[in-house]
């Protein structure tokens, strides 16, 4: 699952990605005419709305794409960088940038484009923006109060507006479409343009808008990837899984003899796990199983996984989910964790008239329990769960 950095693409190679992304960015900006200051400023005087058209189309395209990838489960939206909200600095900083835009005729990205093709005013703007950054750094104490005020964290606009992401997606796309229509009218009036759009362009534009809404509807009606996974699990839940079900005694002997070749996975809640868990068990709550950090356990071929819970149904769900998430060899413990505890930690010696078989079972469990205890004690340090370092993706300017 994406984003590919840092799990699939290393942070070093990420710099090459940056270069490639930048080439695409710079090429499109220049092709769109953003290296021309007159074209950019036209936005503010109504004679050329190229900026709005390019900007809004790009934003809507990327937004719909992000929504779609998220819904399909190929992009983990919880991992991507969301610009944090600092209300005051966003408003004041934005207002200063607006003045800079109208006086300087560029924004940082476009000035770099302009400078790249030899525009001296673009170069002057880049130089100026360096001075501005320096002024901010030197004068930071003056700005600090505004800079840090009203820190809301990475809030999403749809949350603020009290709507779902997809509803906001529809809303923004509709706003963009209306803005395109209105700005065309303004452009025509300011430039004294009487022409109307040729028919093939009208068809092209309407199909593009239609396509955007079609994708949005698709996102709205297809179930998201966790619920699709759940549906698949429920479909097969009634199946007979007795072939992969393992009794507690078998698991206990695996632990004693082969602890290094197995993973014992507790799919219950962390609280239940804390209260009691099997020796060497790791806690992967059922709803966290798709987290990327667990793929190295669920998707490997070196160790066999044993799933258990308190309710047998939950253990089965964990087993089935693991089957969809990876290709490891998986088994289910028949007994619940409390039964396992009773069998091995709260052993009751059999009555004196018990059968030979009962006596043997007792002896086996007693030995297994002692061995497991010794193993846990001996391997305490090496089997403590390693806390996975989660790297937060950085972004912004």
């Amino acid at each position: 699952m994406a984003p590919l950095v840092p799990f699939i693409i290393s942070n070093e190679f990420n710099l090459i990605i940056a270069l490639i992304a930048g080439i695409g960015f710079g090429f499109v900006l220049e092709q769109a005419g953003f290296s021309s200051t007159k074209k950019l400023v036209g936005l503010f005087y109504g004679y050329d709305f190229t900026v709005l058209k390019v900007f809004f189309t790009a934003g809507v395209t990327a937004m719909i794409g992000v929504l779609l990838f998220g819904q399909l489960g190929i992009l983990d939206l919880s991992q991507i960088y969301i610009n944090p909200t600092f209300l005051q600095s966003a408003l004041v900083g934005g207002a200063i940038m607006g003045v800079g835009f109208i006086i300087g005729g560029f924004c940082p990205g476009t000035s770099v484009c302009a400078a790249s093709i030899g525009k001296l005013d673009g170069l002057a703007f880049v130089f100026g923006s360096g001075l501005g950054v320096l002024a901010f750094a030197e004068g930071y104490p003056v700005f600090e109060k505004i800079y840090l005020a009203e820190a809301w964290g990475p809030v999403l606009i749809n949350e603020k507006l009290g709507m779902s992401k997809i509803v906001f997606g529809f809303l923004l796309t509709a706003i963009a479409f209306i803005a395109f229509l209105l700005t065309r009218l303004i452009e025509k009036r300011v430039n004294n343009d009487q022409s109307s759009l040729p028919k093939n362009k009208v068809i092209m534009y309407s199909s593009a808008v239609g396509f955007a809404f079609f994708v949005l509807i698709l996102i709205a009606i297809i179930p998201d990837s966790p619920s699709r996974l759940e549906a698949r699990i429920n479909d097969v839940l009634h199946q007979d899984l007795s072939k992969v079900e393992v009794p507690a005694d078998k698991l206990a002997s695996e632990i004693v003899n082969n602890y290094y070749r197995i993973n014992i996975i507790d799919v219950r809640s962390p609280e239940a796990f804390k209260a009691y868990h099997l020796p060497f068990a790791i806690n992967i709550p059922i709803d966290k199983m798709s987290d990327r950090q667990w793929s190295k356990i669920l998707d490997q071929k070196h160790k066999v996984n044993y799933f258990y819970a308190d309710a047998h149904q939950l253990a089965k769900q964990g087993y089935l989910k693991a089957g969809f998430l990876g290709k490891a060899e998986n088994y289910i413990l028949i007994e619940s964790s409390s039964d396992f505890k009773k069998l091995f930690s709260e052993l009751v010696p059999p009555a004196s008239d018990a059968s030979k078989k009962e006596q043997n079972t007792y002896n086996f469990r007693l030995k297994a329990a002692t061995d497991m205890k010794m193993l846990v004690e001996a391997l305490k340090n090496s089997t403590e769960p390693v806390i996975a370092k989660t790297t937060k993706i950085k972004g912004g300017c």
Binding site: Y45, V54, T85, I117, S129, L131, L172
Partner: protein, 172 residues
């Protein structure tokens, strides 16, 4: 050879959206620009005036958080890409050449001074607002960041509010 026309804005926007989407898909972050300027400027200050930098809290913090300097900064590499991409685009559309664009009623000198002042304001504002039109506004819109969209509205709102006062720079 004649200078070629600019690309259809909606097509350019769609392509830009795909570049942004691809960047988010691969790296989990959006595009940017002003951050690269920041990286280069602050790193230069650190190497030119190390003592002064150590006494300036903002630069000190930045330097501690970015010990590898501009050569290991994502945005610096991205902006190097922007330069290459824009130059390439300029070459194939025959738009490369030393030029200065200005409004009809001002001198070249005024234009350069205005560009420097505008750049300085944009540079300062982008630090305060934690990103510019690319990093905050465009990338913020793609991921539905409230802060990014507020910054965008503030940039364009203020541009319109002040356009009247600076019309002499641009109009007849």
């Amino acid at each position: 050879m004649k200078t070629q026309k600019y690309m259809n804005p909606y097509l350019a926007g769609f392509l830009l959206g795909l570049v942004l989407l691809g960047t988010i898909y691969v790296t989990g972050r959006g595009l940017g620009a002003s951050g690269a300027v920041k990286s280069v400027v602050l790193s230069s200050v650190v190497s030119v005036a190390p003592e002064h930098s150590a006494n300036t809290p903002f630069i000190k913090t930045y330097n501690e958080e970015h010990p590898d300097g501009p050569l290991n900064d994502w945005l610096v590499f991205e902006v190097i890409g922007v330069i290459i991409g824009a130059f390439f685009s300029g070459v194939i559309s025959n738009r490369v050449g030393i030029k200065l664009e200005r409004g009809p009623n001002i001198t070249n000198q005024t234009r350069i001074i205005a560009a420097i002042i505008g750049g300085a304001l944009f540079g300062l504002g982008s630090q305060l607002g934690r990103g510019c039109t690319s990093g905050a506004a465009l990338s913020g819109m793609a991921v539905m960041s409230f802060g990014g969209i507020i910054t965008m509205l503030a940039i364009f709102g203020s541009g319109y509010a002040f356009a009247y006062f600076f019309r002499k720079l641009w109009l007849k």
